[in-house]
């Protein structure tokens, strides 16, 4: 028996819609098996993971809080991936954005600076992330260096730089030697939407970003260029599109969004700069981008779903002593299934049963 791929005459739109659902279904089946191996009841574990967080308002808000950075980063990444360039260093751009914005918060601490501080911090965060993302983009455009490896290496550099700042020059003198800055002043904080809640202005900004990306990709020439350069580079050259310029543009946008997400996270839910501000948002956003089929609305839904797994994972750890790493395994398996199901959009799977002679050429 042999599996053979047959190219479809045109991409199947039905499967494009249902493939993420098939992938989620397959992931849940696989996770049930994993839970059983870990000696936990799969049904109750799945309940804690996917149902419980949806039943109380605190967890629902928390899902939106976690989805905020995921969606914002993933929107930027989707532009890169549509243009067929690979920014996988969003985690680093997130951290650099957080650092760049925090600089202003640290410098204005305790002064009577006005309410301009927070918006300025957001701008600085976006600018920092964009500049940091332009390093791999420039290395790619000018020297032909792999943007994948350069952007990833810069994640480690950003991580170490943040660590240096909060252990060295920016450490809170009254912080009992903990590696953290002092709590940001109220003017340097992203306000919450409902008094006493956790949902903050960042969620609104994310929705605006989703709307802007929908318009950019669906209604503008630039959006069309991004798609063409990614899908048909030769056609794009004939069409006179400048692919180098697009690489710089998509990296700058995705870096800016990752940096914005970083400073919003620090000035919002966290409230100060410290190591470990990101539980791998920059990497999880890659999964969000693919699960959302590189489509802004899809990414919004996918971001909420992956945020659910973060919250569910935390609750499963508390309630059932399921290790937190299960969440990462879950996310990895999900990405595998998403990619596998995506293959169905372009190809038809056919099982061939050999009659006499096994044909050579496929494994």
């Amino acid at each position: 028996m042999q599996l053979v791929l047959e190219k479809r005459a045109e991409r199947s739109n039905t499967i494009a819609l249902v493939s993420p659902l098939i992938a989620i279904g397959l992931t849940i089946v696989t996770m049930s098996i994993l839970f059983a191996i870990l000696g936990k009841n799969p049904i109750s574990a799945l309940g804690v993971y996917f149902i419980d967080p949806l039943t109380d308002s605190y967890s629902l808000q928390e899902i939106a809080v976690k989805a905020t950075p995921l969606v914002m980063i993933a929107i930027g990444l989707s532009l890169c991936y549509l243009a067929n360039v690979w920014n996988i260093g969003a985690e680093g751009q997130f951290l650099v954005g957080a650092v760049a914005g925090s600089w202003l918060a640290v410098k204005t601490q305790g002064t009577d600076a006005g309410p301009w501080v927070m918006p300025a911090m957001l701008l600085l965060g976006a600018a920092g992330g964009a500049l940091y993302a332009l390093i791999p983009a420039l290395c790619k455009v000018r020297f032909g260096a792999s943007e994948i490896l350069v952007s990833l290496m810069l994640v480690y550099v950003a991580d170490l730089f943040l660590d240096y700042l909060v252990r060295g020059p920016w450490r809170d003198p009254a912080g009992f030697n903990f590696p953290t800055t002092a709590e940001f002043d109220p003017v340097a904080t992203v306000p919450v939407l409902i008094e006493g809640g956790r949902l903050h202005l960042g969620a609104v900004i994310t929705l605006l970003v989703v709307a802007a990306a929908t318009v950019l990709l669906g209604r503008t020439i630039k959006g069309f260029e991004i798609r063409v350069v990614g899908a048909a580079p030769r056609a794009a050259r004939f069409g006179g599109f400048n692919s180098n310029q697009l690489i710089l543009l998509t990296f700058a946008i995705s870096g800016a969004l990752a940096g914005l997400a970083g400073i919003i996270e620090v000035a919002g839910p966290v409230g100060h700069l410290q190591p470990g501000i990101s539980p791998g948002y920059g990497f999880t956003a890659i999964i969000v981008a693919f699960l959302g089929r590189l489509n802004p609305i899809g990414i919004l839904i996918a971001g909420l779903f992956l945020a659910l797994t973060f919250i569910g994972g935390e609750q499963a750890q508390i309630a059932m002593k399921i290790p937190l790493d299960v969440t990462k395994v879950f996310q990895g398996i999900l990405l595998f299934y998403v990619l596998a199901c995506d293959s169905l959009i372009l190809y038809r799977f056919r099982l061939i049963f050999p009659s006499r002679k096994v044909s050579r050429g496929a494994a």
Binding site: C139, A145, L149, V150, V157, K328, G332, L335, L339, A362
Partner: protein, 305 residues
């Protein structure tokens, strides 16, 4: 033992995992497959390698566990990219994300445990030669194995017919297919070889480098190994130079941190990563007259029947 001798010994130890992982990836890429999951396969190899050695007390069984774990993960990658024609970059990233989670899950039970590190060779007389004795005749078996592996891969790629076919598959899969070579099967074996090497390289870390397991202990070495393959221009001999160069950077920055030059330790720790970026830029810049990469690297191949 002098300081210089100690530095050279630790450079060799730091370079060995890079060399093993990069050699495996080189073969994979020569067959035209870009597997970005090296980091994931390495970290699972480290967890399984430590687990095997801790449970049985045997370094060899630990190393085998690492190899098996890396190979199994690479098989998932092969199924996806070769069987289902999925984008190799995305699948490699998925493999790394999965690997980091899996290693945490597997290794959770071993954190804080210690094992006896892999024994070092000792030949009376030879190993006792001052200066060069320990360096040439006093390493652990992995160091010698890694060099043998590179020589073996070089012989295979350039001196055997199968090696020639593998390179042909990596340069032009359509022609290779037309000549009747089983493109996907050859690529599958190449991917598995890469996985086995990555698993072994990961296992080296807890088995010989530091005798315990900590989550995330590969610390980007898998990615550096990928960069080394680019650095080597896909040639095994240059890989040795690259790996030892990077090992040297890693160790020298550690010594500089110890010497207390007044430079913040984080800046020194960032050196290997910055060096990777600089090397990638310089190497890519030097290649103005066309790339030396396998021509079909990273492209999907679906045989027509």
């Amino acid at each position: 033992m002098g300081l210089l001798e100690a530095i050279i010994l630790s450079v060799l130890a730091a370079s060995t995992p890079l060399l093993i992982a990069a050699t495996g990836e080189l073969v994979t890429e020569r067959a035209g497959v870009l597997n970005l999951g090296v980091e994931g396969m390495m970290i699972v190899g480290a967890a399984c390698g430590f687990g095997g050695a801790w449970l049985t007390g045997s370094t060899i069984i630990g190393a085998l566990c690492g190899i098996v774990a890396g190979t199994l993960l690479s098989l998932i990658f092969a199924m996806m990219t070769l069987g289902l024609a999925v984008n190799q970059v995305a699948t490699g990233l998925a493999l790394t994300i999965l690997g980091i989670g899996l290693s945490g899950l597997i290794g959770a039970g071993f954190v804080g445990e210690k094992i006896t590190p892999a024994p070092h060779l000792y030949i009376p007389g030879l190993t006792d030669i001052p200066l060069v004795g320990r360096i040439l005749f006093g390493e652990d078996a992995f160091v010698y194995f890694s060099l043998a592996l590179v020589i073996g891969v070089w012989l295979f790629l350039y001196r055997t017919r199968t090696g020639l076919v593998l390179r042909a598959v990596g340069d032009n899969h359509v022609s290779a297919h037309a000549l009747g070579y089983p493109v996907l099967r050859i690529r599958m074996f190449a991917v598995m070889f890469g996985g086995a090497c990555a698993g072994l390289a990961g296992a080296y870390l807890p088995l010989a480098y530091t005798p315990f397991f900590i989550p995330g202990m590969t610390a980007g070495r898998g990615w550096i190994a990928l960069a080394l393959v680019v650095f080597s221009s896909w040639r095994p001999a240059r890989l040795v130079v690259g790996a030892y160069l990077f090992g040297a950077v890693t160790i020298l920055q550690l010594h500089a941190q110890g010497a207390g030059l007044g430079i913040p330790s984080q800046f020194m720790s960032a050196l290997p990563y910055l060096a990777t970026v600089i090397v990638l830029v310089l190497i890519s810049r030097a290649r103005t007259g066309g790339s030396t990469a396998p021509a079909a690297l990273g492209t999907v191949f679906v045989p027509d029947r």
